[in-house]
């Protein structure tokens, strides 16, 4: 790891101020991606601003079907939240399968979505839940937030402080883990609203990161059943091909996982 300067913020305001004073700073939340990346010398921030101790960024609030999750809430806290499980158990289930227990004790939802790893789980949920990403200066719809591999609409110095969404009537997430990294080789989040609207988001498989699948959405909006997936074509040309899986295999996984997610929802 290259040399860096650590700062601990106790409020969002202080964090922004600290970041403003840094040459090339980065916000540090759970650090479960950033610290390993720095260890490998693939990132070299001059300054780190630690967000873990900002009380206003923590916690899960459920009001009716409206959910607000503070960005510094850990995966373990999301997984274990009874209030959240009552309205959107799919998100608890998703969080319970991120990384491993130790990673879940540190890693946060805000850190995950701000990093937008193409194989991360949360981006699929945010997109399928039509979530709103709240920052220190604005609100961004998930559809506008995730802009590419490791890229988001976040601007320099901007902090993700929370996410908000309305819990859907039905939802589920199915992941097929890469046997080595245990990140998603493909992951599919399906969500259906009371009015019958369906959103399907795919992570791990896209060559350009998380994406919605209009074909699956249309088929499931017309017929919310596992069988409805059978006739949908998953175009492999936009999918990732790597050491672990070809695009064709990932296309198959997307279909299988979508079917299983609907069955589980």
């Amino acid at each position: 790891m290259y040399e860096t300067n650590y700062h601990r913020a106790s409020s969002v305001e202080e964090a922004v101020k600290l970041m403003g004073a840094a040459a090339e700073g980065k916000y540090l939340s759970g650090g479960m991606t950033l610290i390993p990346t720095m260890k490998q010398r693939l990132a070299a921030p001059t300054d780190l601003v630690d967000l873990r101790h900002i009380a206003e960024m923590k916690g899960i609030a459920v009001d009716g079907r409206s959910v607000r999750i503070g960005a510094a809430t850990t995966h373990e806290e999301v997984a274990a939240s009874a209030a959240l499980a009552a309205v959107c158990p799919a998100l608890c289930g998703l969080a319970s399968r991120i990384g491993d227990p130790h990673v879940r004790h540190m890693g946060t939802i805000g850190g995950s979505i701000a990093n937008n790893d193409p194989a991360a789980d949360y981006p699929a949920a945010m997109l399928a839940l039509d979530a709103t990403i709240v920052t220190d200066r604005r609100e961004i719809k998930a559809g506008d937030f995730f802009t590419g591999l490791f890229e988001t609409a976040i601007e320099n110095g901007e902090i993700v402080t929370a996410v908000r969404f309305e819990a859907p009537a039905r939802a589920a997430y199915q992941k097929f883990a890469n046997p080595a990294s245990r990140y998603a080789m493909a992951g599919v989040f399906v969500a259906r609203r009371d009015d019958g609207a369906v959103r399907v988001a795919v992570t791990g498989a896209g060559a350009d990161g998380v994406f919605r699948h209009p074909g699956l959405e249309a088929a499931l909006a017309a017929n919310w059943s596992p069988d409805a997936v059978a006739n949908v074509t998953i175009d492999a040309s936009a999918l990732l091909s790597d050491l672990h899986a070809s695009a064709a295999y990932r296309a198959n996984l997307v279909k299988v996982l979508a079917k299983r997610a609907v069955a589980a929802a």
Binding site: E3, G31, P36, Q40, G99, P101, V103, H105
Partner: protein, 162 residues
């Protein structure tokens, strides 16, 4: 260079280190507690697991400065008064270790698993919960047996105390 203070195994300790120093290196080098190991570079093997404020964490992926002010328990802090912790005793009784390198992380993980799940653990849960700990020697068979036995024993002990 940062000056940091934290509680390690019940004792308050202070030290200076670079901001870039990892918690595991602070524990091993500044404090001389070499039971916590480093087995990979990618936050996967779990040889470095310690407890921070009561939860298992990977000390190879946390800066020492991040841990300032917190309470850390390492493998050296588990046995009390020379008596093995029930999880340590179960690992010995069930031959849940061979070369011993992953063992401190495994034991700290097992304690955390039992903290969260209690005595109602089953084999599938234990195997899933060990996702963040790699052992190359045991094939996990006896580690799983040890965790299940420790959970049952500790649960039994808790019930007897109630």
């Amino acid at each position: 260079m940062a000056k940091i203070t934290m509680t390690v195994n019940g004792r308050q300790v202070s030290g200076s280190c670079d901001d870039r120093t990892l918690l595991v290196h602070f524990i091993r080098e500044n404090l001389g507690l070499t039971g916590t190991h480093v087995g990979c570079d990618t936050t996967q093997c779990g040889a470095c697991v310690v407890h921070m404020d009561g939860q298992s964490v990977k000390s190879c992926s946390i800066l020492a400065v991040q841990a300032a002010g917190s309470s850390i328990t390492t493998i050296e802090g588990l046995a009390a008064n020379g008596e093995l912790h029930p999880v340590q005793a179960a690992f010995k009784a069930h031959h849940g270790l061979q070369c011993g390198f992953c063992t401190p992380g495994m034991v700290m993980t097992a304690v955390d698993i039992i903290r969260r799940h209690g005595s109602g653990l089953d084999e599938a849960t234990v195997r899933a919960e060990l996702e963040g700990n790699i052992c190359r020697c045991t094939g996990y068979h006896n580690i799983v047996q040890a965790v299940l036995a420790a959970a049952a024993g500790m649960g039994g002990a808790r019930q007897a105390a109630e």
